[in-house]
Every structure is written in structure tokens, then in C-alpha cells.
Assembly symmetry: C2
Homo-oligomer: 307 residues x 2
């Protein structure tokens, strides 16, 4: 029996649209795994019981990830999974990915760490394919590997942990509005102005230098998204005011987490992140939207064994 | 009397299209400056005398840069300029920028280094505006500052020297074909597929990590240009074969230097760069194009005073 945890993640991160993500220290999802003799992966329980998720191991991301992993190491081992779902579904906080990441870290430990953390990523991507319809890596890679992770390419898969030296805190604000990833993607154009594409490359280069040097003012100036954000503002009530308030709180940057509706704000201290989180929550409140705020450092450690 | 030198530069650098450039150690342009009492900037001579460049200080990039600089420091000082033009014109090697960079380093020294190297860049950009019709910085910034330089943004101007730890050599091959910057820009579309824009951001992020970590295999994988190169292949005879031969020589990457027609190839050693240069020259030869090859380390020092 083993308990594993994997954190929420923020993907996209402004100019890092579709190629970047980072891991929170928490919150996150937990799994309890116990090997069984049935050669079967079973989701025996999901907590809290109010969570509407399938216990079918071919539909639940924890189950899909474990099945993909066991197949890869050519094992017919069975395992019972209890999933404690702390992350809200469809929140843009990497919820589906965290369950898969925790499950993979856990099963890998039970099987004698046959794969490296990086090698676990494709199995979590299989789970994302089931959950979201596309095998994206920008949530699962940071949830497994921790820190800031670049998905440079999918064909071939090229995932790079960024040697960031920036100490940053993050406020993640989850508003009670429903936003389907599908709708959030649908509004993106097939083509973008070449000027904006160039601007985005300049900004992500600045972001990389900002993280690695580190150079926080440069990092802050670089946290701009010219490609996705302008089309997604419509889904977030009070979005422009949210950005304004995050800045007023001293945030290094802010934006839509993943494909939304959650909002992230980065700060150099816990206080700044907390302040930004509160102010963002206030804007939602003015717009009659209740929200929850999570504040945590960006964690260099991702999914981990708890006991 | 003072002599100053500024090196050739490679701008764009694959995925760094329109935001990145680096400085060679050489070749480069030289200026000799002598203060005069005429309150006038004069281009008294251009060497070799076969070079077709205006000696009108309002048309010559060295003259334009010095005039812009003197105006900025509110000086009516006059200066005589002898320009030794070693870089071929319209080559994609940052020729116009190197003359301006050398002139600025020189005049700044004569005036008591009133501005920092970074502060010289806008005056060199004014010279580029005269030479190329647009005040771009991706040649002049590395020629002045050395190393790899990011132009993150023009409005406001945000120029960042990249703390690269990668030791690289560069072969620069200049073929005897005429290619006007204007024509090279004209073929670019106004819009690009969002997928390609995303791919380009992934690659430039990988390039930044590759330079700074350093991680040369990652750097190599990231040296891809999905935005400009496909449209410019048409201007370079044998381009696909050139890429193939550079790779066969062990080059870390290769591509069009600036808006062409010169080709650059990067290597981890002088030998690899030389090999790549020779092979590229051979491809040009097969296509009945004569070319010149320059091999030098990428230099962390840009424009400099020679005496």
C-alpha cells in the first residue's frame, strides 16, 4: 500500500501558450494504491463521494495512466486505486493530469521505479487524451517533474525541465463558472498575424532568460500573451480588472491558467501572491462569481510519495 | 585619433526570426575617427575605394549613427571619419550595422564614454533606418554588445544580452548572388498558422535553455525556423542540400543569416565550423555560385577600440 500526491499545475503561462507549464506545491490529488492478485486495475473508491467521476479504469485518468504504464513495462499486475480528488474538475488547474501523475508516481514506486519521471509523462498524456480529447503534456509534465517545464515538441516528444532560479509564489483563483476546454479552444483562430507570432517568440525568450538568470523585471515584462488571451478574455468576467488588480498588488504577472476559467498570479513573496489572490477574488465577487483562492510556492518537486 | 572595429553579425538565427542575433569575432568594419573644429561630421574616405557607398554623412550609416549620437548628448562636436569597409554590402552579415556600431563605439570613446554600450543601440538603429528602411536592432545590438542578444520588444525598446554559456563557432558563407532585403521580406505572409507560431515559441524557448544551461543537443534540436525560412528557400540555390551538408559536417545548426543570401552554420569546434563552411561552399559551387567563407567563434565582445 502506498499513498502518492501530485500537485495542481498552471499551463500556458501567458507567452508560453501551449508549450509551458509549472507545478504548484499544492493543492493536489492523492491516490492510495494496493497491489491485487486479480491482474486488474480497479478504481475502488473516489473521495469525496460527491465527485462526479467514473470509476471505470478505462475512463478515469488515474486508471488509464496506470494501465498504459503497466502495458509499457509488460506487466499484468493488478492494482486497487482509491482516488482522493482535491482539485476541482474543469478548472484549468490541471486536475485530470494531477490524478494521472499521482497514480503514475505511485505505481512506478510499487513496481520498483522501472521508469524515470520523464518516462512517465507519455502515460499521463494517454490519460489526458481520454479526459480532454488531446494528449497534451503541459499539465502532466510539470505535475510529474515539478518546476517549470517546456514542451518543445510533440513529434518527437521533447520535454525539458527549465533550470529556473526564480523563487516565485503563485495565487491560483478558481471561479465557480463552467468553461469547457473545447469552447476555450474553439475561439482560437487558425492563423495569427506574423507580428504577433514574432512578439510571442520575443516574450518567451525573455521569460526563459528571466527564469534562468534570474531577472525578475525581465520575467515580468515578458509575461504577455498575444495569441490566446485576447480571444479568451470573453469567458472571464471582469478579466481586464483582474489583470489590473493583480498588478496593483505587485504581482510579477497574471493570466488565465490553462484554458481557464482559473486565474493565476505570480509574486516574489507569499504576501504579494496572497494580496493578488484576494484582489482577484474581489473582482469575481463584484461580478457575482464566487471563487476559491489557493496560494503556494512554485514547487521544484512535482508528484511525490507521501508514505 | 582613434580606430574602432565592429564585427559581422548573424540575425534571425532560425527560430529567433526577427528577435535574435549574435556577433562574430570577425570579420568586421573599421573606422578611424579624428575630432575636427568644423562642427561637422564628415566621411573623408571609404576604403577600399571600389566600395560603392555614399560619403554623405546623412546617407552613410557611420555618419548617421554619429550624428544621432552627438545630437543625443547635445554636442556640436565635428569629426572626420575614415571607413574601412571589410564586410560585403547586402550580404545578410550585418554590414550596414557594423559600420554604425564601430562609429558609435569610437565616437563614444572620444567623447568620454557618455553612454553605455546598450544606450548606443538606438543610434545604430537610426543608421539601419537609413540603410534598410526599418530601424531594426537585431544586427546592431549584437555588433555593439557582443554575444547573443534578444530584441524582446521595440515598443518600448527592450534589448537583452543573453547570458550564454555555450561555446560555439560559426561559419558564415557569403554567395555572390544579389538579394535585396526588400525582396526577402516581401515573400513573408502577413499571417502564419497558429500551430507554427506555437512551434516557434517552443523552439526559441529550447534555444534559450540550450544556450544558458548550456545543453547543446537541445540547442541543436531547437534551431528550426517554421516561419520565415520556408518562404526564403527559393532565393538560395541548393538550400536543402546546404542544410544537409552542414548537418553531415556535424554542425549544430544552420540557416539563412539575416534576410540572406549568406548562410551560417554553427559548430562546437573550429573544425566543425570549417568543415561545414567548406561543404556549403561546395554546394554553391555546384550551383555555379562563387562564395566566400568566414569562420570565427561567436564573440562575447562586440564592437571595440583597436587603438
Amino acid at each position: 500500500m502506498i499513498t502518492a500526491f501530485a500537485p495542481a499545475t498552471v499551463s500556458n503561462v501567458n507567452c508560453g501558450f501551449d508549450v509551458l507549464g509549472f507545478a504548484m506545491e499544492g493543492p493536489g490529488d492523492e491516490v492510495q494504491l494496493a497491489l491485487n492478485d486479480l491482474q486488474e486495475v480497479r478504481i475502488t473508491k473516489i473521495l469525496p463521494e460527491t465527485v462526479k467521476l467514473s470509476t471505470d479504469p478505462m475512463k478515469n485518468t488515474a486508471g488509464v495512466a496506470i494501465r498504459s504504464y503497466l502495458k509499457a513495462i509488460d506487466s499484468s499486475q493488478g492494482v486497487d486505486v482509491v482516488l482522493t480528488k482535491n482539485l476541482p474538475l474543469g478548472s484549468g488547474m490541471g486536475s485530470s493530469g494531477a490524478s494521472a501523475a499521482a497514480a503514475l508516481i505511485g505505481i512506478n514506486k510499487l513496481m520498483g521505479n522501472k521508469l524515470s519521471n520523464e518516462e512517465l509523462v507519455p502515460h499521463a498524456m494517454e490519460a489526458e487524451r481520454i479526459a480532454c480529447g488531446s494528449a497534451h503534456a503541459d499539465n502532466v509534465a510539470p505535475s510529474i517533474m515539478g518546476g517549470f517545464v517546456l514542451v518543445r515538441s510533440y513529434h518527437p516528444l521533447d520535454i525539458v525541465k527549465i533550470p529556473s532560479k526564480a523563487n516565485l509564489w503563485c495565487a491560483l483563483v478558481h471561479p465557480q463558472i463552467e468553461l469547457r476546454t473545447e469552447d476555450s479552444r474553439k475561439v482560437l483562430p487558425e492563423k495569427v498575424e506574423i507580428k504577433k507570432a514574432i512578439s510571442q517568440t520575443g516574450n518567451i525568450a525573455g521569460l526563459m532568460i528571466g527564469l534562468m538568470k534570474p531577472d525578475l523585471p525581465l520575467l515580468s515584462r515578458s509575461l504577455v500573451d498575444e495569441i490566446a488571451e485576447p480571444h479568451r478574455i470573453q469567458f472571464i468576467p471582469g478579466y481586464l480588472e483582474i489583470k489590473k488588480q493583480a498588478k496593483a498588488a505587485g504581482a510579477t504577472g497574471s493570466g488565465i491558467s490553462g484554458s481557464g476559467p482559473s486565474i493565476f498570479a505570480l509574486g516574489e513573496t507569499r504576501e504579494v501572491a496572497e494580496q493578488a489572490g484576494e484582489r482577484i477574488q474581489s473582482v469575481f465577487k463584484v461580478n457575482n462569481v464566487t471563487s476559491e483562492v489557493y496560494v503556494s510556492p512554485i514547487s521544484d518537486v512535482g508528484a511525490r510519495i507521501l508514505n
